[in-house]
Amino acid sequence: MTISWLYIGIFLVVSLGLPAVAIILAGILAPKKPSPEKSIIYECGVDTHGETWVQFKAQYYLIGLVFLIFDIETVFLYPWAVAFDRLGLFAVLEGLLFIGILTGGLVYAWKKGAFEWA
């Protein structure tokens, strides 16, 4: 058990390290001729106006919010699905009630227009 997580740790370190090493190598090999012209932010040749930190629609936040709630509820259904053989019919119905409450949230978000992107 623990040894497999050690392997996963090695694997993750290598998978993150490989692109890092490649980028660093390329950075050494590549030519470096910086100039102020080059480092201008690319906005189709037009000079940047104002801050980059434009305001965003609250819609993004609403989507993120619904996602967060759904994500948590679904993740906690996983142990339930794994233990399925040990559950009685009643327990399965309990799980479906859980999903039903989740669906209620979806319907509310839908009715309140959280998914409209006007």
Partner: protein, 102 residues
């Protein structure tokens, strides 16, 4: 083998850092991040006690689930409130938003 105390001291330190963040930051979102640190310290404690004291039952794990749920609900509602306040008052500095005082 790691003694239990290591986890406990680590999570005590995390709680204290979180408390510092909650008390001292001006930005309300930053205060929320402090609360997140505290809740995570709680999770470390719960799982450590589960692992070291009572590995047969899953009580510690169920509590962790509850803490994660509560943390998520808190973040969702908290950030929504900050965004609403920001929309009306153009600030989220905690001391400027004292209208709810009785």
């Amino acid at each position: 083998m790691i003694p239990l105390s290591w986890y406990l001291v680590l999570s005590a330190a995390l709680v204290c850092i979180g408390v510092f963040g909650v008390i001292s930051r001006r930005n309300a979102i930053a205060m929320l991040l402090g609360v997140e640190l505290i809740l995570n310290a709680v999770n470390i404690n719960l799982l450590a006690f589960w692992r070291y004291m009572d590995v047969i039952h899953v009580t510690g794990q169920v509590f962790t689930i509850m803490v994660i749920t509560a943390a998520a609900a808190e973040v969702a509602v908290g950030l929504a409130i900050f965004i609403a306040v920001y929309r009306n008052k153009r600030t989220i500095a905690a001391e400027d938003v004292a209208d709810l005082k009785g």
